[in-house]
Symmetry: C2
Subunit: 435 residues, 2 copies
Amino acid sequence: MDQVKIGICGLGTVGYGSYLVLAENKEEIARRAGCEVVVSHIGTRSVKPEQEVGDTRVSANVFAVADDPEVDIVLELIGGEDLAKDLVLRAVNNGKHVVTANKALIAVHGNEIFEAAARNNVCVAYEAAVAGGIPVIKAVREGMAANRIEWLAGIINGTGNFILTEMCDKGSEFADVLRQAQKLGYAEADPTFDVEGIDAAHKLTILASIAFGIPLQFEKAYTEGITQVTIEDIHYAKELGYRIKHLGIARNTDDGIELRVHPTLISEEKLIANVDGVMNAVMVQGNAVGPTMYYGAGAGALPTASAVVADVVDVVRVMDHPQSAVPTLAFQNDHISDTPVLGISEIESAYYLRIAAEDKAGVLSDITEILGDHSINIEAVIQKEPRDHDAQQVLSVIILTHEIKEAVMIDAIGKIEALEAVSGNVSRIRMDKLE
Amino acid sequence: MDQVKIGICGLGTVGYGSYLVLAENKEEIARRAGCEVVVSHIGTRSVKPEQEVGDTRVSANVFAVADDPEVDIVLELIGGEDLAKDLVLRAVNNGKHVVTANKALIAVHGNEIFEAAARNNVCVAYEAAVAGGIPVIKAVREGMAANRIEWLAGIINGTGNFILTEMCDKGSEFADVLRQAQKLGYAEADPTFDVEGIDAAHKLTILASIAFGIPLQFEKAYTEGITQVTIEDIHYAKELGYRIKHLGIARNTDDGIELRVHPTLISEEKLIANVDGVMNAVMVQGNAVGPTMYYGAGAGALPTASAVVADVVDVVRVMDHPQSAVPTLAFQNDHISDTPVLGISEIESAYYLRIAAEDKAGVLSDITEILGDHSINIEAVIQKEPRDHDAQQVLSVIILTHEIKEAVMIDAIGKIEALEAVSGNVSRIRMDKLE
């Protein structure tokens, strides 16, 4: 095998980035892969004037690439779900290997796609779908292969981490930082996928699947965004020695799998608490290796292309013997587990609570009595004057609790909110020791 | 293939740890590997009373394991160089795959061993040889395959990092912390390999080889230990916003490869500056992905076993088609580069200098004049009274410089030490921006 031919579908940021990396690092890649890797066909509606693709064949229809008998490996970099799914299935059914960076596609349609790949004896690789350039799929699927993985937790959305970092460092409000992120190109015009945690939940779904050997179950992931995180909460958390990060957490408990994306208080002592800006990091805890962490750029043209092209090299290596490839979901297809995913009300967590209460005798004791009645142990309490003084004498009561089942906490919060001296909703942010 | 048979040579910390991981995580490993992985033969002079190996066959002679026709994969976990080399070559020549955790063996005899493995069409895997449980060999060799790797820098010796962390946090002297580390089992009775940087140089040699596609050249690694690092230096570094870490640094420059282990000042803002205690971390910078970092336990029975057994699973996957395996040194054997390794006097670095000088007019200007004459630019100067006051009025002058060739700096230091007002040697610690 002297040459492997690549078809790139989609010439956006990642598609053109992959083209550039394959061209720029051509020699290093050939030295590693043992053969030349060339782009022979690009599927894109239009090549932009600033894009330079030499005399590479270009088709307006991406399916022409998937149908091209010369192409060995199709890179699906068009994004979205429906067209991407049709394209990948077409390529797979044509006996072609596929590399994709599409987290939504894998999280939602992965089970079906991987089945088709197994039937056709081809590889579908997706390192770039999670945490951009960080080889975390490889670390979990292969590097941790000796372990029962106990839990993983990641900052897996750069936009959200940028926003929380700026709020923390500069004291700016969410809406202001979001506008800044949009200006810098870190956030989309419609930021829903990022700030509501959907993007992170796609990635977490994939990580949980390869960590625990369960099917992809995006629909069961609990997703809570960062739009409700206030400067006040970030400020109090900092004072108590914590940072608020938007984490994806997956944990293998005796009762089932926890699968949840939400703002989380973590101790500033933890390395991952210091992962700032648009950078990503994933902690993975195995029963043999203990805690590990993987850090790098979670997005961007070249970092994502780095993962796409690493997958290409992996595929090149095993394409003559696809049975030697790492199982797509880390575990052999006939050994996928049916351990259930827990609903969010069933998980156990410690909590940060912020309660707005009138400055009257007995309020704090009413609150702690409710917590006591629910067997919720308190780790710390601080009482604060509000940062912007209003007419009424309203205090902020901050409580850190020990671990308790979420359903119990929700019930207790309901009772606290019903107290006459308590105004508005209780802010509730989960805490994690990452241990 | 229903079952793969493992022979463990050496039943020390890592050997028995690997036995335990293979037993304890048997089911997870089989689900990933697609077949049962069983230990069928152990080579050890004696099984300790607290070690439980069931009815596994035990030979006092490790060569009996390498010669056992039933054994598919030999784990070389006896350590040391000579016997280990004979053992590995025997196994390889018997057509067996080998997994080793032996950094000295690979760094010093790797080229010869890998040649023998290629001739015999078997795999020799060595993830556990670098940074214990962190899958950093995999990350560099496979995860970064799309990149031209520009540099890497790692805290790759837990003992040294523990000592520097304790010195920094508690202000204890080197000798005291070393004794404590020995008591805790973090340091050997003879700590030379760890504190003089030899262990780190072994690991760095391996990392550089797979990063840049050069042969293993341990003899060319520059090695400087941490025995000369003083509390004073750690204190001043901290005051200036830096931490002193014992780093292994490998850099691909236009002039050649830098390969060096030494104490290094790094900004406290860098994530790796916050890697404390016995933990390890390796930063790797690729031209596409940018900076990445890999963190975890660098030693210990189970973390190291985690890497050994992950290698076993990798080997199981490709043993029917070893040509599908990742090239041992990341690059194809016929594409290893002859880029030279630079001598330490040829490298460029920024420096921290601590100069003991009499408190007289003109001393500082004499020093800065010498630096100016050598075209050494100054980034910062602080002048300090000594922490323990002595009779003479001796000041500490701390200077941070910009980058300059080491040979030039050595020359300048010689001239500074010759100044009448300067007493003793100049403390010189390299700095790195890790950029």
